[in-house]
Subunit: 425 residues, 2 copies
């Protein structure tokens, strides 16, 4: 391990310049979940130049070991040869035309066989296309209107799942939305009782992953209770597996947590970066699903479907789930050990393949900002306020290199604390 | 011209078989705007094998001259070398990563310079991502709730713009939606007066293109009146140019019709088949736009942006707009002449680059089904109930070949009429 001098640390001049240009012509410059406003300005990259495996290079020529994985989509490594070969073979034939390719049927059949819950499969582009589609399917199936969600959820950007206060969202958009707390069975029972006969569906992520907060796993028995309440009350149970899908279990994260939803929404990792999403469901829901009006200009494009089929097969072949858990465990336990050594308590949350850490005494996440910025300037990308992602391309040597970056960054973070430059509690 | 015998006509056996397999595992088999239920079963292709230029081959090996152009996205020809080269160059660097590429800034700047209305540009995947985003921007800008739409519109699949009766759509989804008739200025004035101070935006396509009906151009002065009413009342004027964009004018179809909206939504043709959409707007709206919560897993992918930049530049370089109008005029006037010769009146509607025809005496569009099916079996794809699209890849020889297919198909259609096998009026 070498201690880098200040001169050796990355600088992000071109990223900063490009962002200034962008801010003139794009609202927010870079918007949404990848917005740089979530990070200390000038200490993180803003634009990618090149990506391969688990590493990418930004426009300033800095190379990073990547633990955001495009915020989920990259799961086998950028430009994975097996995926790219399948995509290129399909690209040579046809992509977006008047009809789907045969690949759409092949992919649907493969996913039906792969995913225990799936009797049928529906494809779109965004994860959010599918969470909305699932709620409409639940309504069409039950002939009821209300959807129960979990406070602090993320199901996309549709008005029904975007908080009032964001631009353009009206109270009317939430008239049929009910909210319960995560892991709160009694709260759920109460709402179900109050609105008996009016509730079409319950939608939640298989574990809770709010931004700016630690991730929360389901309590033992939680999902089994939820499932049993839904069955009793005729409520359609929707697992939003857009973020976690194929990182915890190839059959859906519900298999990992031991429950059977009626509908599962997938996207992100299923095409290793190619734009595709899917909703799978049980047979009883197929008729209702076919009554929902849903279509899109690029939804039948054959290249992302070829990429998805290759991705799913390869993930299964190499047992990627097990590898990601192993690498994530090595990373997170390594970080915890480093933190302990510097007297900075670290809380790890979520599954190892989609982990998050925060400093135990860091109410405003300032230590996270400092720590992650210092890691970034040394060559690993750890996000201060959004959960991380492992990929099957991460090897022990990558984790070790990141732990070296973390060691140096922890020392700097400790200096801040010692100089009382940051409030802790 | 050769008259094809029944044995020489295309058959669609593999398409039909594949569709049967699909129907087992995909709700509707093939859903949405490309659903085969809009066409006579067994007489049209359902699955694409290969596509290049203005032609594609289905899974049965039948080749078609294509006048749907992937329902809009294909505008330069499938696998256009200039677009594919730009996409491939970007693909070798990076596509979907943690950050955008420099290409995002370049594309935004290019579109700002290309499109008179555009002071800023925002990117997403689906056209419908952007029509919803535009309505939210209008709400955020005006601090009002209601959106005026035109009866029979198509703005995507979000609940606010999907008719009640489709699965899962509730009356609550439409609480803030008002409806006026197309080309009806007095109706618009009435609604504006009734809801004065409550109306955030007016959204419409630059000309009216309902499915199953003839297309309707704006009456002279219509858009200018609409614009003036919106200015007076502080209503945000939104042009949904997702379908028509870049086929009538490179600066937005509003330039073709002579009006200035506040926001324009683009998608379909802008990436020649690569999945991308955009909303552009005037400076006054930029702050409101940045308050709308909008993001997506694949929205920053660099390859579709590289494809879009190459597509727009190439369209401009070759003056594609003029060529598509010329080829469309040749096609539509040719069809009209053939119809007249067989004593079957044909009504042409919409602009030549995005034309549609129906038989004047054909209340249930049965003649259209017969005619288009007979054309399909001979090697051209003309849709019986959805508007058509020209591309810059269509040459005179293609149009002539299609007119030959049409000549034979018209003869068969005339036979049906003579045998009184179809009701006309």
């Amino acid at each position: 391990m070498t201690n880098k001098s200040r001169e050796q640390l990355y600088n992000f001049q071109k990223s900063t310049e490009l962002f200034s240009r962008a801010a003139e012509v794009i609202p927010g410059g870079i918007y949404g979940h990848i917005s740089p406003i979530l990070m200390v300005p000038g200490l993180f990259p803003n634009y990618t130049y090149h990506a391969e495996g688990c590493r990418y290079t930004d426009v300033d020529g800095n190379e990073f070991i990547d633990y955001e994985c495009a915020y989920g989509p990259m799961i086998l490594g950028y430009k994975h040869p097996v995926v790219e070969e399948a995509a290129e073979a399909q690209r040579k034939l046809a992509d977006c035309t008047n009809h789907p390719g045969e690949i759409m049927v092949e992919l649907a059949e493969y996913m039906r066989d792969l995913i225990p819950v799936a009797d049928w499969v529906f494809f779109a582009k965004n994860g959010g296309d599918m969470t909305t589609y699932a709620t409409l399917t639940a309504r069409a199936h039950t002939n009821r209107k209300k959807i129960i969600t979990v406070r602090g959820h993320y199901h996309g950007i549709a008005p029904w799942c975007t908080a009032i206060g964001h631009g353009g969202i009206t109270p009317e958009d939430h008239l049929n939305i009910l909210t319960v707390e995560w892991n709160d069975i009694e709260g759920l029972r109460k709402v179900v009782k109050k609105y008996r006969g009016e509730i079409a569906g319950f939608i939640a992520t298989p574990y809770h992953h709010p931004t700016f907060k630690e991730q929360v796993m389901p309590l033992p028995g939680y999902w089994q209770e939820v499932e049993s309440i839904c069955r009793e009350e005729g409520i359609v149970l929707i697992s939003d597996d857009v973020r976690a899908g194929f990182r915890l279990h190839m059959g859906g994260s519900n298999e990992y947590f031991g429950f059977k939803p009626d509908l599962i929404c997938f996207s992100k990792a299923m095409g290793n970066g190619y734009a595709i999403s899917a909703c799978v469901g049980q047979k009883e829901l197929m008729n209702a699903a076919s009554k929902v009006f849903a279509t899109g200009s690029f939804w039948f494009s054959a290249v992302p479907m070829a990429a998805a089929l290759a991705t799913l097969k390869e993930l299964k072949r190499i047992n990627a789930v097990e590898k990601m858990e192993k690498m994530g465990s090595m990373l997170m336990n390594g970080l915890k050990e480093i933190g302990n050594r510097y007297g900075l308590g670290i809380t790890i949350s979520g599954p190892y393949a989609i982990p998050f850490m925060h400093f135990t005494r860091d109410p405003n996440m300032y230590l996270s900002q400092i720590f992650c910025a210092e890691v970034s300037r040394r060559g690993s990308l750890l996000h201060p306020s959004h959960n991380w992602f492992l990929s099957a391309a991460h090897e022990e040597k990558d984790i070790n290199e990141t732990l070296n970056h973390a060691e140096e960054a922890m020392k700097v973070t400790k200096d801040y604390v010692d100089r009382k430059a940051v409030a802790t509690f």
